[in-house]
Subunit: 309 residues, 2 copies
């Protein structure tokens, strides 16, 4: 019980990546959440002693909080003889399509794991982070949690079968967060539960191209493949000015642009930092024409995921 | 006009590969078609002087024959000052789901190209082979033509965007051709033109896994991913005993098993030749229990595609 508190950073993530609905995601270097965790003597118990940056949007009750629930699931599974006190410092917007709940869940589990005598491998923490994420999203997907945990671009073939791709070094991700709020559950409810066979084939072809493009650092292939003909057209109307902002990204040289997760953030991939800066500026301006304030983030792909300080 | 005739071999191919409907295919070492081509003085003209191995099933009229049409399209595009006389030696069953028409189209174009002073690159022959294939299948897909042309496992993201994956060295392909005939057009007519969103996501996840598995020589991932939950269930009834034969493959250690192209052939992938032999034997026996004679082919993946002798 002598260990001091530890601080963990877990990054924001972009899920879906166009044609990889529910199965692809990538981690950013910034923004991200921080959790400060301290051991307590109440075995298996979690208290949340502080939350900053959430404007009262997040519950302190551990079973209703993604970080709390993730830590509880982990402590229970590990039959831990200690409990945890968590401070949650939200450093990214909630409900933005940037995997906010996943970042907190991942940070909590990584912190809890660090207190074990024999910590688990990073990948083995996935089910606990997913258990936490489920509190917020209501369903179990790994497309935000997995990249927040292990970094890189991640293919989540299944919740227990995740594969990291380290992308080309010069790949930059632009994320634009417009000041709109969208609930993931509403964004899901919008979607038709049927896809035409032709659209399925075309989307699959692009998914295959995107994966090979990432794996082989083939920017041309990434550019040709980064398209979403199924989900994006159904969600675009949630975001005023969506097509203008996307056009601004493409005209300024982005490899591709689509909705980050369930939105409202947009992301664009770029093949160097110069283009990324231009693209970010153009996208913010395009939102401004629609009287929407938007905040840009520019980041390389985070190659390691959550980090213990 | 002094060049002698040349002989070209183009391999059979397995299209779809489970979860890659219309976009994935691989080439076999055997069986395959042979075409012997000779120059003639009738610029741009093609005659088919001989067809063997086709039991009268193929037309001699060049515009109605896949090889003839492919050669015609190529000669026209290249404004060739010569014509061609083609002998077509079918060495694989027609209507078997093994890309018979693609093999002939590819062999014809590769032969025609060899007579040019400045032959085109192999990949640039794709549109002409597709033009030929279209005569037989009525639609333009590259999933058989592309691997027959360039070898390997091929992702055809689009008809002009093909990507070769060289698979793990010890990967063996078992193909079982049961003596049933299925028309590709009928096999297509069976398919629902709607896919559920859930099935689309699951199939996409498996496609991603399969591609990464091939690219990274990860047999475990190939095994977990080689599944088709969309097309196979709709076509299985065309093939009496399908599920028994598939079970025989899996029980004997195949990584996965599904329908080759539009059927009726089945294919199984195996991680070595010993397993491949056992799997082939078990699959033939399983068909025999349903009173169906079946012919096995065992082959590594053909890494080069069509070959000039």
């Amino acid at each position: 019980m002598t260990k001091p508190g530890i601080k963990v950073f877990a990054p924001a993530t972009v899920a879906n990546l166009g044609c990889g609905f529910d199965i692809l995601g990538l981690a950013l270097n910034q923004p991200g959440d921080e959790i400060i965790a301290r051991m307590t003597e109440n075995a298996g118990q979690v208290i949340i002693s502080k939350i900053t940056g959430a404007k009262g949007q997040l519950p302190y009750e551990p079973t209703k909080n993604t970080a709390g629930m993730a830590a509880l699931a982990f402590l229970k599974n590990q039959r831990a003889d200690f409990g945890l006190d968590l401070e949650i410092h939200k450093k990214m917007p909630i409900g933005s399509g940037l995997g906010s709940s996943s970042a907190s869940a991942v940070a909590a589990v990584v912190a809890a794991n660090a207190f074990l005598k024999h910590p688990l491998h990073r990948r083995d923490l996935l089910p606990f982070a997913i258990a936490g994420e489920k509190v917020a999203s209501g369903s179990a997907h790994a497309d935000n949690v997995a990249p927040a945990l292990i970094g890189g671009i991640v293919l989540a073939r299944d919740v227990d079968d995740i594969h990291r791709i380290i992308p080309p070094k010069s790949l930059y991700v632009v994320v634009i967060y417009p000041e709109l709020q969208i609930l993931t559950s509403e964004a899901r409810a919008l979607l038709s539960n049927q896809v035409s066979l032709g659209a399925h084939i075309q989307q699959s072809a692009n998914l295959g191209g995107l994966l090979l493009g990432f794996e082989r650092s083939d920017f041309g292939l990434i550019k040709r493949s980064l398209k979403d003909i199924i989900i994006e057209p159904q969600r675009a109307d949630m975001i005023p000015g969506f097509y203008d902002v996307k056009d601004a990204a493409l005209v300024n040289g982005a490899l591709g642009c689509s909705i980050s997760g369930a939105g409202p953030s947009l992301f664009a991939l770029c093949d160097n930092s110069f283009i990324a800066n231009n693209v970010a500026e153009a996208m913010v301006k395009a939102f401004a024409k629609h009287k929407i304030e938007a905040k840009p983030y520019i980041s390389e792909v985070n190659k390691e995921g959550a980090k213990i300080y």
